[in-house]
């Protein structure tokens, strides 16, 4: 009985923490504030998640950008949109392409991004830096010491993911059979040369 009460209290305490935080809280911080170990926090997070669902709350508990945060349910997006006006625009195609390249190749430099996209990316990088989706990550020890860029926690938050490992694997088309044959031919001719 007393155990059950304690669980409920922990859940309420967790709700308090999530309510006051304007950004995702790492699980270690939740454990510290609740004064319990991480395994217990995981249990409390799960039970809060379930009880929010059961009471049909407008809020949901999400794992995002390396922490936990309360968010409104997507079903109520229209209602919220009637109250709040979004000030940020969706990212342009140029921004998206650049961001995708950085996300997969990070840390990477402007010349490397330009080599993939075939267009200059200076302006796009500035936009992404301003929106804090990327940040500078030192300089590359290469000719001209170009600036390196990487994605930020805001990037994860913008796309609603926990870390970059959630990005899908890049689909490279398999090389054509012709090329494979060529390789075989090459090997054959080389070995023929060696024996001859």
């Amino acid at each position: 009985m007393s155990d059950e009460v304690r669980v409920i209290n922990k859940e309420a305490a967790l709700e308090c923490l999530l309510f006051v935080s304007g950004e995702p809280i790492p699980i270690t911080e939740l454990a510290r504030a609740l004064d319990v170990d991480i395994v217990t926090v995981e249990g409390v997070l799960r039970s809060l998640q379930i009880s929010l669902k059961e009471r049909e709350s407008g809020l949901q508990l999400l794992r995002i950008a390396g922490g936990w945060q309360l968010a409104t349910r997507s079903e109520y997006a229209e209602v919220v949109a009637r109250l709040l006006t979004r000030t940020s625009n969706k990212l342009s195609r140029a921004s998206m392409e650049t961001l995708a390249i950085i996300a997969y190749r990070q840390p990477t430099t402007a010349p490397e991004i330009e080599a993939v996209r075939g267009v200059s990316v200076g302006g796009v990088l500035k936009t992404l830096l301003d929106r804090r989706l990327i940040r500078e990550a030192g300089r590359k020890m290469a000719l001209g010491r170009p600036m390196l860029y990487e994605t930020t926690p805001d990037f994860l938050h913008y796309f609603g993911i926990t870390d970059t490992s959630q990005l899908p694997t890049l689909e490279l088309e398999s090389p054509p059979p012709v090329a494979a044959e060529t390789v075989v031919d090459g090997k054959v001719s080389v070995s023929a040369m060696v024996t001859g």
């Binding site: 997507s74 290469a142 060529t182």
Partner: protein, 275 residues
């Protein structure tokens, strides 16, 4: 020329592109909307797609013809972005000219020397990101249906915990502000002649590194670097030196939580070598 004339009025309004159904010859040139392409590679991929050709066996002459038609069009609409397209146009023409050269019979590995290989590799690499962009678009759209509390604004009342990890420069800046508030205690007016020995930044950095190296794994408290009370000049000097050392990755700093001590550690040389 006549064809081009008829194209121009359509360029800005038409998004749909005419599709070639039969051969490339006597095919009407496709219509384009300038903003529809994210550069030369995007355009090339598009031409390959609408002409339904094999990316590994691009008919260079036909594709180049269509490509140049678009570049000519772009020249009249958006001269600024033509430059980026011209480079690839030159590549296409170079490839074509190399394909036209007779192959020397001694070269048995003609396939390996296909001048198109490099361009194809670039196109495939570029294309590989398209799937990722689509995924990001989906995520972006869904994420925009969720609303979060914005970062708390009453930052004077309380601050959120800092994740226990490498701190960032803004935390150092906070620490500096705290120090500067205490500083200037014995500072003389600017007009006074100060016979004090003034250290150079380089010397100060070397001195700090020595201290930190001696401290070893224990590290040093941020505050212990400063010999308070002291003039602002010294604080600024130490701080600048510290920033430089952090930038050079010879020192790293860790803060366990908000308002807690910042500890500095000496970084072994081996760790620095990574590029």
């Amino acid at each position: 020329m006549e064809v081009e004339q008829s194209l121009i009025p359509n360029t800005l309004s038409e998004i749909t592109l005419a599709r070639s159904r039969t051969s490339f010859l006597n095919t009407p040139l496709p219509y384009f909307k300038t903003q529809a392409f994210e550069g030369p590679l995007d355009l090339l991929l598009h031409l390959i797609r609408i002409n339904k050709v094999d990316i590994y066996d691009i008919p260079i002459a036909e594709i180049t013809e269509q490509y140049l038609a678009y570049v000519a069009l772009l020249e009249q609409i958006d001269l600024a972005s033509v430059g980026e397209y011209v480079v690839v146009a030159a590549t296409l023409i170079e490839i074509k000219s190399r394909l036209l050269l007779p192959l020397s019979s001694s070269e048995s590995s003609e396939e390996e020397d296909d001048p198109r290989t490099e361009l194809v590799a670039r196109l495939l690499e570029y294309q590989s990101f398209h799937g990722a962009v689509e995924t990001l678009r989906d995520w972006e759209a869904f994420r925009r249906t969720l609303y979060f509390r914005s970062a708390t604004e009453q930052s004077d009342d309380y601050i959120l915990p800092i994740a226990e990890a490498e701190a960032d420069v803004s935390q150092l800046f906070h620490a500096l502000s705290r120090l500067l508030a205490q500083a200037g205690v014995d500072e003389k007016p600017v007009t006074a002649v100060t016979p004090r020995r003034r250290l150079s930044l380089r010397l100060k950095m070397a001195e700090m590194l020595r201290h930190l190296q001696r401290a070893g794994d224990e590290g040093l408290m941020f505050e212990s670097l400063f010999d308070l009370p002291c003039p602002c000049y010294d604080i600024v000097l130490v701080f600048l030196g510290l920033l430089e050392l952090i930038k050079q990755e010879r020192v790293r700093f860790v803060q366990r939580g908000a308002m807690q001590e910042i500890r500095l550690y000496f970084v072994m040389e081996e760790a620095v070598v990574r590029v």
